[in-house]
């Protein structure tokens, strides 16, 4: 890993001594502090209010917000890759799912013999009549190992895949399609019972995490707070990368890769670095997601899920680290509401969202707010259509 990313990391290191102001202006730090307060304090407090109170936040909303925060982390990872390096991966669902599976395997092992079959093996293995734990399951008894796997497995996969892809200068739509094919292939792999990860039922029926009962509301609030902290950390990390010298190189790669190559930079290393980093962040998001929803199965690997991740970023605003999580909140909030209220129209809305955002709001919500609603542009487009 070190050889290929030396340039990228040294570009990061050169200005690691810079002041915090470079990462965020003073007002930014203040806003971040307010966000921290809103996310990490207000929600648990509102949730702990008595049921009779008008301000009481129902339990299910805490879990829902926790889920959205995980999606927001994914959106930041996507934005880092797509918004800043111009690489559209349609396979980030893979890293999200792998992180989730790594956490899920640990959670399965902590069930112990409290499962339906009272066996020391996970239920699905008893069901498949397996006698022994497969070798790759064994270390997942250890929480620390699971945490390392959450980061390392997506990172290694992204590094290997990205190495092959970027080295042969696969870029643009080719890269998008290849990553989609990877997602599709891995989905098929995870669907198989023989893969040893629960087949199409996946991993579920978790009982506890690190000694805390997973059904307890306090555990859920704790996981929510962890997700919120995770999102803020992902934001700061992404902010650190994008404001560094390496971030500038990445943006030049996005805008004019050939020129940056002729200037003596090796775009492959920078791309590989940011792709791997993005995958690792996605894996962490998956690991935070699984204990909150209580299940991980291969449907997370459906290609459509990975494409939806791109629309979160597009709606919020590419190239803006505030826009990406905002987009994740808006799109998933709309999804939660519409799939209940008007289920048959959700696909229409999602489809129109894809088309409208790309046609009329290429900078997403953030861009729209920055420049006011682009009335003149809309009018120009309309007149072109009429012609």
């Amino acid at each position: 890993m070190t050889t290929a990313t030396t340039t990228a990391t040294s570009a990061l290191a050169q200005d690691s001594g810079r002041r915090l102001e470079n990462v965020l202006p003073k007002s930014g730090w203040i806003t971040l502090g307010v966000c921290l307060l809103v996310f990490c304090v207000s929600v648990p407090v509102l949730n702990s209010l008595p049921l009779s109170s008008a301000l009481h936040l129902p339990d299910y909303l805490v879990t829902l917000f926790g889920k959205f925060l995980c999606f927001a982390i994914v959106a930041i990872a996507m934005d880092l890759l797509w918004g800043y390096a111009g690489i559209l991966s349609l396979g980030h669902g893979v890293f999200f799912a792998i992180g989730g599976y790594a956490m899920g395997m640990y959670l399965m092992r902590t069930i112990g013999s409290a499962g339906v079959y009272r066996s020391n093996l996970p239920d699905f293995m008893v069901f498949l009549d397996w006698k022994e734990l497969p070798w790759f399951w064994k270390p997942f008894d250890n929480f620390a190992f699971a945490l390392i796997a959450v980061v390392a497995v997506p990172g290694l996969l992204a590094y290997a895949f990205g190495f092959l892809a970027f080295r042969s200068r696969i870029r643009g739509v080719y890269f998008s399609i290849i990553t989609q094919a990877l997602t599709f292939a891995l989905m098929l792999l995870f669907f198989r019972n023989e893969t040893g990860l629960g087949g199409n039922n996946g991993l579920t029926d978790f009982k506890q995490i690190y000694g805390y009962r997973i059904q307890d509301q306090s555990t859920k609030v704790g996981l929510y707070v962890l997700s919120a902290l995770g999102m803020l950390c992902a934001f700061l990390l992404a902010r650190f990368v994008t404001t560094s010298k390496a971030g500038r190189v990445l943006r030049s790669i996005r805008d004019e890769e050939s020129r940056i190559m002729f200037l003596g930079y090796d775009p492959t290393r920078f791309k590989l670095f940011v792709y791997t980093l993005s995958a690792v962040i996605c894996g962490v998001a998956g690991a935070l997601y699984v204990p909150q929803v209580g299940i991980i199965n291969p449907s997370e690997l459906q290609p459509s899920n990975s494409i939806e991740m791109a629309i979160w970023v597009a709606v919020g605003g590419r190239g803006s680290l505030i826009g990406a999580p905002l987009g994740a909140f808006v799109v998933n909030g709309a999804k939660s509401w519409f799939t209940v209220a008007l289920p048959e129209f959700w696909l229409y809305i999602l489809g129109v969202l894809f088309v409208a955002v790309t046609l009329f709001f290429p900078q997403g919500l953030v861009g729209a707010v920055k420049r006011g609603l682009p009335r003149d542009k809309l009018a120009a487009l309309l007149s072109r259509v009429r012609k």
Binding site: R167, I170, I178, Q180, A185, L189, I311, F354, R384
Partner: protein, 538 residues
């Protein structure tokens, strides 16, 4: 007695107006004897029927064995087929006369009937009946028929029937004790190369609990091992022939799916994620045309497919044209956004089709001239619909080739594909070329939909399954060359089907993806690349 029969026959002649024959009359009399109550008489009658050579005699006894024989008051045999009566005598009365009765058959009679019928079949003058009987006997071991089979084998003139009888005997001989006969049996099985004898031969080579071979004779074991390897290689060969055919068939489906995509991608460098939905629209257009014929022209039902081809082309081409004019037009130079926008369009199309046709799959019936197939080898049927899809894809390729190479539009398409700016400078209306090309590429996808509708069910998600594979074809084949798409499609189809039996469907797919990624390392522009001097790759 005679007079009575004559009276009946005259009655028959009155409304049949066909010459009666003496054999039918005798058989009728014998059949009446089957109704006798004592077993000895019945058995005697069965024996006398079995001596007769006419087909009706055999039919009567087979019906008796199956419990489907009905005899009317005059003794005319009838066959009961699912509650309906069919006369067994060709020249006999069409309707039973008088009360109908069912002769009783007990197990003893049934046991004695089986060899009698087998021997009648084996000595039938009709070659197809003899062959069917011998093949039937070869399927299961029937020791008590051995003498009968040996007699038939000696008498048989036709080589196909004789080898079938030999095989039937081989199973009996193999279990016997005569070493020469057993070796001959093994060689007969080896000759046949048929997989059904594998368990018999396998058993000879297994060991029992004490570690000794179940078969003590070493020469028999050696012969069995040789026969086994021959049979296995023959089965492998047949499997390969089947896989090559399925590979060709899958390749042509992929070709039809990827052809339009390769054209539009080559021209505009945008990925149309709604391409799979254009396939789906073509398939639903086929379904609609079929429904139209069902309701308005049921007599010409079989012709619907002919009309479905232009209808599907037109439907998909129209949708494609509208997509280009309304969305893609405004996204030039932004390929990644185009990808997302077309994905959105695909969601809208899927949901629209769901609202119109319902979320359930619909079935498009093959027209009668495409139903069925020819059994070519044991375990492998050449289905007409698959052959038709292969031929159809060849026709579509010819159509696309003609359009690209021999029409003014094709000339413009090739020019814009090679160098858009230069083509525009030469006065080619690139934007109009884009629209028309997109429409044609979408129409070709619609044609692919027609083919898919003939191979399986049609549902709103039909296209989703093909999008990844078609892009793999384009990535593998490279853009701008028809030959590349051809090579990519058939290469992928073949590799897929040949890997499937070895690695399983899923691991095969993963292996192919790995192969494509490694392949791109060596040739980033696909198998056939257009030559150019641009620093930008793809």
């Amino acid at each position: 007695m005679r007079h009575w029969v004559f009276a009946v026959l005259f009655a028959c002649v009155a409304w049949l107006a066909s010459p009666r024959d003496a054999s039918a009359e005798e058989l009728t009399e014998l059949t009446r004897g089957l109704m006798a109550t004592d077993d000895a008489t019945v058995e005697k009658v069965v024996l006398s029927i079995s001596q007769r050579t006419e087909p009706a005699a055999l039919h009567t006894l087979s019906a008796l064995l199956d419990g489907n024989l009905r005899v009317d008051a005059a003794g005319h045999p009838f066959l009961n087929v699912a509650g309906k009566l069919q006369p067994i005598l060709a020249n006999g009365p069409k309707e039973p006369q008088g009360k109908l009765a069912t002769p009783s058959v007990d197990n003893r009679l049934r046991r004695s009937l089986e060899p009698v019928i087998a021997s009648m079949k084996l000595s039938s003058p009709d070659r197809s009946i003899r062959l069917a009987a011998a093949e039937d006997l070869a399927k299961r071991r029937s020791d008590d028929l051995a003498p009968l089979l040996r007699k038939a084998q000696a008498k048989e003139q036709d080589s196909t029937v004789r080898s079938a009888i030999t095989l039937a005997l081989a199973q009996i001989d193999l279990a016997g004790s005569d070493k020469a006969l057993r070796l001959a049996a093994i060689s007969a099985m080896q000759e046949s190369g048929d997989g059904q004898y594998k368990p018999d031969l396998d058993r000879l080579l297994t060991k029992d609990e004490t570690g000794k071979f179940r078969e003590p004779d070493e020469s028999v074991r050696r012969a069995a091992a040789a026969a086994l390897s021959r049979i296995e290689s023959r089965m492998f060969l047949y499997g390969m022939v089947g896989n090559v055919f399925y590979g060709l068939s899958l390749g042509s489906v992929l070709l039809l799916a990827a052809l339009g995509l390769a054209i539009t991608f080559g021209l505009m460098r945008v990925i149309n994620m709604a391409h799979g939905e254009l396939l789906m629209i073509g398939a639903y257009a086929t379904y609609s045309v079929q429904r139209l014929f069902e309701q308005h022209f049921p007599a010409q039902q079989d012709l619907y497919l002919i009309f479905a081809i232009p209808a599907a082309f037109a439907a998909s081409a129209t949708v494609g044209y509208l997509i280009e004019r309304s969305v893609l037009r405004f996204l030039y130079g932004r390929p990644l956004e185009t990808l997302l926008a077309t994905w959105g369009i695909s969601l809208i199309l899927i949901q629209t089709v769901r609202l119109i046709f319902g979320a359930q799959n619909v079935t498009v019936a093959n027209p009668s001239w495409l139903a069925g197939g020819v059994p070519l080898l044991p375990g492998f049927v050449l289905t007409y619909s698959r052959v038709a899809v292969i031929l159809f894809s060849a026709v579509v390729v010819a159509f696309v080739w003609f359009t690209l190479q021999k029409t003014p539009l094709g000339l413009h398409v090739r020019a814009v594909t090679q160098n858009r700016q230069m083509a525009a400078g030469m006065g080619i209306p690139t934007r109009r070329v884009d629209s028309w090309t997109f429409a044609i590429g979408s129409g070709v996808a619609g044609l692919g939909g027609v083919a898919l509708s003939q191979l399986g069910n049609v549902g709103p998600e039909l296209g989703q399954g093909y999008i990844v594979d078609s892009f793999m074809v384009v990535v593998l084949g490279g853009v701008g060359k028809l030959a590349g798409t051809l090579a990519g499609a058939f290469g992928l189809g073949m590799v897929n089907k040949l890997l499937e039996p070895v690695a399983g469907a899923v691991l095969g797919k993963i292996a192919i993806l790995g192969f494509i990624i490694l392949f791109i390392q060596r040739r980033p522009q696909g198998i056939f690349a257009l030559k150019g001097r641009s620093a930008e790759v793809a």
